[in-house]
């Protein structure tokens, strides 16, 4: 479980079913799927019949990762090839969702970040979203200089995929941007770059 390094660094308390919700929207990747499956064991069929799952299936490996979800009797199971396509659908879904909808997100941090960021733009209060971190520690990082987002950062420092500066990846996190802050690491002495470590595997 992710420990809070500083107070802007979000923590993810884990999925818990809200049995009072009129409908449920669940966003998971392959690792987060298992968190949802664990929660699904604790609820009745009525809960699952008002639940829509949006699932990023990830690269193929011979098994159908959606199969355990198909067996649940969900109202909807939507499978997406990428997080980007999933978020586009979530955006559309939230725009027609009603009061009483409960949102869940489980998986790696970029997925949770983008679900929360998308939900914020629809007026959802961030603390109302059930979240659980599973899988990789890789991060979305915003370069404070060019404002470009670098996806799937596993090292510190890391190179900005837009302007090319080497960035110190801080724990300072913006929910609105859905990313950690990256700051030029060799601004004072250009070229003085510490060893690159795989901190976020």
């Amino acid at each position: 479980m992710i420990e809070p390094a500083i107070k802007s660094r979000p923590v993810y308390p884990g999925l818990k079913p809200d049995r009072c919700a009129k409908s449920n929207v669940v966003v998971v990747d392959k690792d987060g799927r298992d968190a949802f499956l664990e929660m699904a064991k604790t609820v009745d069929d009525g809960f699952l019949r008002k639940t829509t799952v949006l699932f990023v299936k990830g690269p193929p490996n011979g098994h159908d990762p959606a199969a355990p979800l198909e067996a649940l009797g969900l109202v909807n199971l939507w499978v997406f090839p990428s997080l980007e396509t999933l978020i586009a659908r979530l955006d559309g879904l939230l725009s027609i969702s009603r009061m009483g909808t409960r949102l869940y997100a489980a998986g790696n941090e970029p997925l949770i970040s983008l679900v929360v960021k998308t939900a914020l733009s629809h007026g959802v209060v961030h603390s109302s979203i059930m979240t659980e971190h599973r899988g990789s520690l890789r991060r979305r990082v915003q370069c404070v200089h060019c404002k470009g987002i670098t996806e799937n950062v596993t090292t510190n420092p890391a190179k900005c995929s837009h302007c090319g500066l080497m960035l110190l990846v801080r724990d300072h996190y913006s929910r609105r941007i859905g990313a950690f802050q990256g700051v030029c690491i060799d601004a004072e002495v250009p070229g003085e770059i510490p060893e690159i470590k795989a901190e976020f595997l």
Partner: protein, 346 residues
């Protein structure tokens, strides 16, 4: 104060300097000969004539140059101004607070005529005149916060109050000590202060937040904060850190007095009447050490404060690379004598 506005720069050739009167009124933030963290909030009440506390909003000799620098920053980077949609009422509250204060306290420079919602504003130093309808943003050339903050020294954030917290949901920052408004907009009080070392563990932010949530209309408060800056640069933003960071390795024993500046922020907070938001003003005053050491008490005390600053804060304030050379340079002003008790400025 009898203000003559200086023609000076905060970038490139860095012609900024303080007059003898400005040196005298500089808000030297240390009241004892050692470093100590504290919330140090006090009522923002009127101080002696000519002091930076004489009026709620201090307009000084750097006003015109300061506003010119802000315009340059905004031209390069419009994201230095941000306001979430629900903050429009707080923007108008802020415009009212600043226009009424500035016109009342500096009538030779600013005039505000109000006829119901029809307002007429004149800013003589910047040669600005507008008639607009209070509450109708379409009648101003910018949104209200940006309009007035292009004419008022200091950065500002507007804090929405809900869920027992304060949320930085609007602001303008062109002279900030290395924090990003664009990144921090939408954060709560604990989140935007997250990178500050030591203070969280000491409960400083819990106490400060509790105090500010109870802030009352008409009873503004203030505190002083400080850091150090190389060259009189106002725009020490993280956005441009890859451009100004190199300044920190240019300090030598020969140029300390000219290069190293003490940078003091007068932070003042007002409850706003319509929105119930808080206006949090962060006004930076700069002084180069050559100017500061013209007062031996201040020179001696700064030398002693820099001996006792905790290493975490040295890193956080970004002074690691030039701290030793600065302390060594100040040592010659420390004759071992005692300094007067309390603040060293009026």
């Amino acid at each position: 104060m009898n203000t003559m506005f200086k023609d000076e720069t905060f970038r490139d050739d860095f012609t900024f300097s303080n007059s003898p009167a400005a040196i005298k009124r500089f808000p030297f933030p240390f009241w004892e000969d050692k470093y100590r963290y504290s919330v140090n909030i006090e009522p923002h009440v009127a101080g002696p004539k000519g002091s930076i506390y004489e009026f709620p909003i201090d307009i000084d000799e750097h006003y015109v140059a300061d506003m010119r620098d802000r315009a340059l920053v905004l031209k390069e980077d419009p994201l230095r101004v941000q306001a979430l949609p629900h903050m429009m009422l707080a923007q108008w509250d802020l415009l009212e607070l600043l226009m009424t204060s500035m016109a009342r306290d500096y009538p030779e420079h600013f005039t505000l005529e109000r006829n119901g919602d029809e307002w007429h504003w004149i800013n003589r130093p910047l040669k600005i005149e507008n008639t607009f309808r209070f509450g109708n943003a379409a009648t101003l050339p910018y949104e209200p916060m940006e309009y007035i903050m292009r004419q008022c020294q200091g950065d500002i954030t507007l804090l929405d109050q809900r869920e027992n917290n304060l949320w930085m949901d609007a602001g303008i920052a062109t002279s900030q000590a290395d924090w990003s408004l664009d990144f921090d907009v939408g954060m709560n009080f604990m989140e935007w202060h997250a990178p500050v070392p030591l203070a969280h563990q000491q409960g400083v932010f819990d106490r400060a937040l509790k105090f500010l949530l109870a802030l009352q209309l008409g009873k503004p408060v203030r505190r002083l904060n400080w850091t150090m800056t190389i060259n009189p640069r106002l725009d020490t933003s993280p956005e441009n850190y890859h451009k100004w960071g190199v300044d920190r390795v240019t300090v030598t024993p020969e140029n300390v007095g000219d290069k190293v500046h003490l940078r003091v922020e007068l932070q003042a907070l007002w409850r706003l009447p319509r929105s119930n938001a808080i206006a949090f003003s962060i006004r930076a005053y700069l002084i180069k050490l050559n100017e500061l050491v013209t007062d031996l008490d201040k020179a001696r005390r700064l030398h002693r404060v820099l001996q006792t600053i905790p290493p975490e804060l040295v890193g956080y304030k970004g002074i690691t690379r030039y701290l030793d050379v600065t302390r060594d340079w100040l040592a010659k002003y420390d004759d071992g004598k005692p300094t007067p008790v309390g603040f060293l400025f009026q």
